[in-house]
């Protein structure tokens, strides 16, 4: 096999899943659970093994982004994260500006960890804050307070991080537009580069599902939820943030490149329990059973995406971005649909790109589903 020179190689995103947390939050349906130190250590070993075993990728790809997600990646010791980054660097070619993000929960990171991350080349921190209101935090099952977050945040800044995201949640039980705005104002004083603001989704199998699944009246109404969404959007945009995806805001140039890659269908390789990969239009999902993963079994699922699935994903994912998608060669195929959605004022065309209107965002499931066969 002829080895590609580095600048001929395709971009790759790497996702590393850390399925551990101190305590499961009441709304969380991610693959994550508390675990003993020893289990975490054994897990990291298997993770490193999995990375080492994927050397065939390094010939084809340059690593554009790395994202440590979870769970709570910051639950690991600083050295463990550093070691994973180090092995990745040994295995792959990184670009000069490779974006490396670690998700952090405020209660798990101290100044030392941030310094270690920074040292290892991590250049982006994503804080799971969710709310500035301690009562709301408690209700969500979060174990940190606003004060603890402030401390953690300033330590991250102190360690030299200049690209920080803060995750927020709206439409929480009992939350009012007023509470929401208060959280927002408090967060804005910190001048984060990036804010992800999600409306709470009630997922099956979570304690929240049990509590609210049958009682939507205990949650803010749809009108209130949308109002909060608009409030966030308008407030952030007024402050110079750009909404570049349905729930994501950034100062220009600070968009999360890793996540953009998902919506643009860049190839990605996921390492760890239940992690998903997309490589040459094949989607793999790793083993989701921790005990099996610890035995070295990756055995997951594999789905080859045909041209139809590729076309559909292109729209279904791409339209989540504010800049939308260029219909390009699919324009003919979706001609009628695009016209219909434009008449319904759910889709608009700007500079040759199709994007959701404000109303289109509100009912985006309806719009996106139209592109599925």
């Amino acid at each position: 096999m002829i080895k590609n020179s580095d600048n001929m190689k395709k971009p790759l995103e790497i996702y590393v899943h850390i399925p551990f947390c101190i305590r499961k939050c009441a709304y969380c349906d991610f693959l994550s659970a508390p675990a003993e130190r020893e289990v975490q250590e054994a897990y990291v070993e298997k993770l490193l093994e999995e990375i080492r075993r994927s050397e065939e990728l390094s010939g084809e790809y340059n690593v554009q982004t790395v994202f440590f997600g979870g769970g709570t990646p910051s639950i690991l010791k600083g050295e463990q994260i550093c070691r994973i980054v180090e092995i990745l660097r040994q295995q792959f070619v990184f670009l000069n500006d490779t974006e490396i993000t670690v998700e952090v929960n405020p209660e798990t990171a101290d100044g030392e960890k941030f310094l270690q991350y920074h040292e290892a080349g991590v250049n982006r921190i994503s804080f799971g804050l969710q709310s500035a209101d301690d009562r709301e935090l408690k209700l969500l099952g979060r174990i940190h307070t606003w004060e603890q977050f402030l401390e953690s945040y300033s330590m991250a800044r102190g360690a030299g991080f200049q690209n920080i995201n803060i995750d927020l949640m709206s439409a929480l039980p009992g939350q009012t537009a007023g509470n929401m705005r208060k959280t927002l104002e408090q967060v804005l004083t910190l001048l984060p580069e990036h804010i992800s603001a999600y409306s709470l989704m009630i997922e099956e199998g979570t304690p929240f599902y049990g509590r609210y699944g049958e009682h939507p009246e205990l949650l803010p109404s749809e009108d209130e939820e949308r109002q909060m969404y608009y409030d966030i959007r308008d407030r952030l945009c007024a402050d110079g943030y750009v909404r570049y995806e349905i729930s994501n805001y950034a100062r220009p140039g600070y968009e999360c490149r890793h996540n953009l890659g998902y919506w643009e269908r860049t190839d990605y390789r996921g390492y760890g329990l239940g992690a998903a990969s997309l490589l040459d239009n094949v989607r793999y999902t790793n083993q989701t059973e921790l005990s099996e993963y610890l035995k070295g079994s990756l055995k997951g699922t594999e789905e080859r995406l045909d041209s139809r699935a590729v076309r559909e994903e292109y729209f279904f994912l791409g339209l989540r971005k504010t800049e939308g998608v260029s219909p390009g060669m699919y324009r003919e195929y979706y001609k009628e649909l695009i016209e219909k959605l434009q008449v319904q004022q759910l889709l608009e065309e700007k500079k040759g790109r199709l994007c959701l209107t404000d109303r289109g965002v509100d009912v985006s499931n309806y719009v996106l589903a139209q592109f599925l066969n």
Partner: protein, 605 residues
């Protein structure tokens, strides 16, 4: 069996209220007379269709011949004719009874006589049958056999003190029933040498033999080669085979002569030629008169049946044709609905018959159906003197052309314990019933007599009756005739478009109430769209009720990242799949079940 001594034949049926144990007793009789070993018995041998077994009702008449060695040492041939057990099939019941010489009346030892029991007994007495009471379910802790025996004597006026006290379930005392059949049920009469006169009490279609006629030979003899004619339909055939009924099989024999029950085949292609109640005679030596009582079965209830998937229209037609081969009472003709596309307007004996056909189409033919609101046949008298029989509300002429309309009325008998008389009378009042009278059966039970419009009882009357009497009321009815009535057509508009398949005819006084309930129901059934959808009920263009399905405010996934693309995609696919199964009316998507919502308008609300 070349010669059969008439005096050794017993032709009888079993009449009972639903659940009083008719089919179980039939099973025991078959088992005890040795036709089948108990190992071969599948419970309730006579209920052939899965549906019958499941619902615990008999839909088609079934017949079986067994041989019983009585205590007198003689062998007797028993022809047991199992009759359908529902008011929808009253006519079939009456023809089956006409084929018998006696009837076993099964009464539940705990529940006693019910309205349907009475109706069936009167029917049996009308046919001059000897009625032999049997008290069943004496193994129940709540059994009160003496009270029930007294009740039978008081209410029906037949001797009941020596009625066998049995448990058909355990087989207890069933032997006594067999002995009494020999002693109490008369042997048949008729002369084997007289001109042939045979009563058709059922017929089934067999793909190899053609129509198989179930009949009772009243006079004469029929054998292979006899040139026969059905006197009412004038259909002719030459007999290919005659025989009698084993358990679940046909056993050919030489000939059937007066007094016998059996079957005839003759390469007849269509059950419509062999109507229940018709008389079979010998063309070469015809009888002078047909047997009395024949009438053409009339459909009482109509509705539209549409395939959920329009492409299945030909399949639905084939399935209906096949069902009709065995069910002369099922009628259908093609119709078109703006909302539902191509389908059929179908006529049924009653709501149960409708449900059975619908279920059979869905199960046996794997069809997904949309059923429109069932209605009755209205008579529309136009100002130009013309009269139309209206089965589809959409065909109602313009009100300016209508002089007046008539609707069918039934005479109903409701048996109820005295404590519920008030609430049942209230129910009948609400359903526009005309009170005719009340008779006390005994101290605690009464028989209420009402004339009720048929269209008021075809939906949920039975359920309402049960719920208002805690299950104690029983009900039976008979078609009475047509009376003039203030009827209007209630239209439903969805997003300002009239949906033809949702229109129905209703009495003017209940139009507002029904319209309001219909709108409320539809509001729950129709999913939110991108726009607001008004749902309106209208009579003659005037809106009388309105509900609104609010516009969809929000339908958005806050997150979608690399790990959950597959799952999120499936979620959206599912959402879209649900829409595919809906009907598009204008730009509104309506779920199939919304069309049936009129059936589910609650009694109390």
């Amino acid at each position: 069996m070349a010669f059969v001594d008439q005096s050794k034949i017993r032709n009888f049926c079993i009449v009972a209220h639903i659940d009083h144990g008719k089919s179980t007793l039939a099973d025991r009789i078959i088992e005890k007379t040795g036709l089948l070993t108990s190992r071969e018995m599948q419970s309730q041998v006579l209920d052939n269709m899965d549906l019958e077994r499941e619902r615990g009702i008999t839909i088609k008449a079934q017949t079986v011949r067994t041989v019983y060695r009585a205590q007198d040492g003689e062998e007797y041939i028993f022809n047991l004719i199992d009759t359908p057990g529902h008011v929808d099939f009253n006519y079939e019941v009456s023809r089956s009874l006409a084929a018998c010489d006696g009837a076993i009346l099964v009464v539940d030892a705990a529940q006693g006589i019910e309205a349907q029991t009475l109706a069936n007994v009167y029917l049996a007495l009308d046919h001059n049958l000897d009625v032999m009471p049997v008290i069943n379910k004496i193994d129940l802790p709540s059994a009160e056999p003496q009270r029930v025996m007294d009740e039978i004597e008081d209410v029906i006026g037949i001797e009941a003190q020596d009625a066998p006290l049995i448990s058909a379930k355990t087989g207890q005392n069933v032997d006594e029933v067999l002995e009494q059949i020999v002693k109490r049920i008369p042997a048949p009469g008729g002369s084997p040498d007289a001109p042939l006169q045979a009563l058709i009490f059922d017929s089934v279609y067999d793909p190899y033999k053609g129509v198989i006629i179930f009949c009772r030979i009243k006079e004469g003899t029929v054998r292979k080669g006899t040139p026969i004619q059905m006197m009412a339909t004038k259909a002719e055939a030459d007999v290919v085979e005659v025989g009698y009924f084993g358990a679940g099989q046909f056993i050919p024999c030489e000939e059937l002569s007066a007094g016998m029950v059996g079957y005839i085949t003759g390469s007849i292609k269509n059950v419509k030629d062999t109507r229940v109640g018709d008389t079979v005679t010998d063309r070469s030596n015809p009888c002078t008169e047909p047997l009395p009582g024949y009438k053409k079965v009339q459909s009482m209830v109509y509705c539209g049946l549409y395939p959920a998937d329009g492409a299945k229209y030909p399949d639905l037609r084939d399935a209906l044709e096949k069902l009709q081969l065995n069910d002369a009472a099922l009628q259908f003709e093609p119709e078109t609905s703006i909302a539902l596309g191509f389908g059929f307007r179908c006529g049924f004996l009653g709501l149960l018959h409708l449900e059975i056909i619908q279920e059979r189409l869905e199960r046996e033919y794997n069809l997904d159906l949309v059923t429109t609101a069932p209605g009755v046949i209205y008579r529309v008298h136009k100002s130009n003197g013309e009269m139309i029989e209206l089965t589809n509300p959409s065909n109602l002429p313009d009100p300016s052309e209508i002089e007046y309309m008539e609707e069918p009325i039934v005479s109903a008998e409701i048996m109820v314990t005295t404590e519920f008389i008030g609430s049942i009378m209230e129910l009948c009042q609400e359903r526009r019933g005309i009170y005719l009278g009340m008779e006390y059966m005994e101290e605690t039970r009464a028989l209420l007599k009402y004339d009720l419009p048929l269209n008021e009882i075809i939906y949920d009357f039975f359920d309402a009756l049960k719920s208002r009497s805690r299950g104690y009321a029983s009900f039976d009815y008979d078609f009475k005739g047509y009376v003039q009535s203030e009827l209007v057509k209630l239209d439903i508009l969805i997003n300002r478009e009239e949906v033809d398949a949702l229109s129905f005819i209703v009495h003017g006084a209940s139009a507002y109430d029904r319209g309001r309930k219909m709108c409320e129901k539809l509001k729950d059934e129709i999913p939110r769209h991108l726009f607001e959808i008004p749902i309106q009920a209208a009579v003659g263009g005037k809106i009388i009720a309105r509900e609104t399905v609010k516009a969809m405010r929000k339908d958005v996934l806050a997150k979608c990242y690399g790990g959950d693309i597959t799952r999120k995609r499936k979620l959206l696919e599912k959402q879209k799949e649900g829409k595919k199964r809906m009907r598009q009316i204008g730009n509104v998507e309506i779920p199939q079940k919304a069309f049936m919502s009129v059936l589910k308008l609650d009694d109390k609300k």
